[in-house]
């Protein structure tokens, strides 16, 4: 089986008026299925550009990107949208929930953009919300939830279409350390129990310590890439919770 992500000589150049900025200057990497990778680096190091390209939000200026065997660089706008819908889950620092929709409706949102109908959308969303520990919060609006709870809704939303990979951009950046630990244990649980590949961008060594591989960026290039010898363990109890079957209320 080929690696889930296979990038070769990826470059990205932005034009800002007369000046062109080389955000990525030839990045080559592979990411295997089921891995949990932390991407680190100072601001402007190119890690955000790298994540945008991996997330199919943008196309590289040159280079190759095979996602699950699909050459992404040759896809058009709507084909990219479909890949994002089917294979990728996004988690943002500021959650990006739609404020006028309930938790359940936010989670169901990606189902709306699938080609086929989902008759049991509510039940699916319910199950995923419960799996991130939000049973009973389905009808709450984002403003009625704490930061940690909002990020869990966002994680549930990213999971609803059973993606191959989760891309998290500073997912704990807006959360206190206790809540950060909870979110990280959810990620670790998803990775360990369901085998979902996770890439997360972070500034924090503490957060990166949960991953089993850390990639370092500087000046548009990968400068370090090393496995984590002994990843930090999330609470066993939370993993147990994720394993437990969930009752879906009718």
């Amino acid at each position: 089986m080929p690696p889930l992500i296979d990038v070769r000589g990826l470059t990205k150049t932005y034009r800002l008026g007369e000046v062109s900025v080389n955000a990525l200057q030839g990045v080559t990497a592979t990411i295997e299925r089921g891995s949990f990778v932390a991407v680190m680096g100072p601001s402007g190091s190119g890690k955000s550009t790298f994540m945008n390209l991996l997330g199919c939000l943008d196309r590289p200026t040159s280079g190759r990107y095979l996602l699950d065997g699909i050459p992404v660089e040759s896809l058009d706008r709507d084909q990219l949208a479909e890949i994002r819908n089917q294979k990728i889950g996004f988690i943002f620092q500021n959650f990006n929930l739609l404020p006028r929709m309930t938790a359940l409706e936010n989670v169901e949102l990606p189902l709306l953009y699938k080609d086929e109908d989902t008759p049991d959308a509510d039940a699916q969303a319910w199950r995923v919300l419960a799996s991130v520990g939000l049973a009973g919060r389905e009808k709450n609006l984002p403003t009625q939830l704490s930061g940690g709870q909002q990020q869990r809704v966002a994680i549930a939303r990213s999971l609803i279409n059973r993606p191959e990979i989760l891309l998290a951009d500073e997912p704990t950046g807006a959360l206190d350390s206790r809540t950060s630990a909870e979110i990280m244990s959810i990620f670790q649980g998803l990775n360990r129990t369901q085998g979902i590949t996770i890439l997360l961008v972070t500034h924090s060594d503490e957060v990166a310590a949960y991953a089993d591989r850390i990639i370092g960026f500087r000046d548009g290039l990968i400068v370090s890439d090393a496995p984590v010898i002994d990843p930090k363990k999330a609470t066993e109890g939370l993993i147990a919770l994720l394993r437990a079957p969930v009752e879906v209320p009718q």
């Binding site: 939000l57 943008d58 709507d78 479909e82 994002r84 819908n85 996004f90 990006n96 990606p110």
Partner: protein, 411 residues
Amino acid sequence: MKKLMSSMRIAFRALTMNKLRSALTMLGIVIGVASVIATVAIGSGATQRIQDQIASIGSNIIIVIPGSTTSSGLRLGTGNAVTLSEGDAKELVAQCPDIALAAPLVRGGAQVVYGNNNWATGIYGVTPDYLTIRDFSVADGAEFTQQDVEGANKVALLGKTVVDNLFGGAEPVGQVIRIKNVPFTVVGVLTPKGQSSQGQDQDDVILLPISTAKRKVIGINSANADAVNTIMLQAKSGAQIPAAQEEADALLRQRHHLQAAEADDFTIRNLQELFAAQEASSSIMAMMLAAVASVSLVVGGIGIMNIMLISVRERTREIGLRQAIGAKTRDILTQFLVEAVTLSIAGGFVGIVLGIGASALISRIAGWATAVGPGAVLLAVFFSALVGISFGYYPARKAAYLDPIEALRYE
């Protein structure tokens, strides 16, 4: 279908979020549609009224009146000559194949007395054919007959206005009224016709046998005892009007011994032409009003475009997020188009209700006839949807082609 439903739900939610803003945006369309509906209603009401008036005059009518005369170098106006006669009327109907009926008419005015009441009204001396041509019917009592004309009987048919003024609530048929001190028996009351196109009360009239009217009321013309003021002709059909007109012209010229070089000493008028012109001018007026009203629809559309552009800008991050989780160009385009069309159609419906209300109010206050047809309503719905789509398209397209990365980063 599911996607459309959910787009409509999203649109509805977005619109109810900003109730005041949505209402104000809709107001442009509301006013536009309401004014289109009202002006079209007034226009078609006016056309309807002209058609009713044509019907009230009678159908396929040709009017012959005497021409002008020159007396001692003084040219008198049309209708002053005494060139038409009862004989002309008889021959017109006898000799012209396209003429069905001919009714001679003498006209005068007199003070009419019944009991303590009196009333000044128009006196028409006519034959029974006049009733047929003018489409007069009798609501109460009976018409007078050809025998009444031949015997110069003192019988009268009264218009509704005359009855109201002379009799109050009393039963007029069989009563005796005095016209110029001559007693006349009321034999019937005419069915009301209402106003003519010139605003004349067509029910303020007394019809007498032409013979009686000449001898007792209006007086016999000293130059020509046979003279009449007008001859009304009825062509056999609407299509035969021009032929009937030509036949009448030829026959009258021959009977009046006019040389080829001489001008007619009579005038023939065809009411159809008059009414066609009136109808055309009223429909041009209605179209102009509707054109002015549709300008406000366009202004309303610009309002929608404005608000949609603001809405797209405000929801840039939402659009970015939707794109990130897989919304295609078409999904975003549909979402915003549905929103714009919802605004404009909702405005359209309110406008239709308001427009119908306004036309009803106008007919009450101004007394104009208005008619709101299903065509006008359909047209209004169609145009408001069209305005929504055409003015919503640009903002929706702008939203659909946002760059997802920039949209997500937008503050």
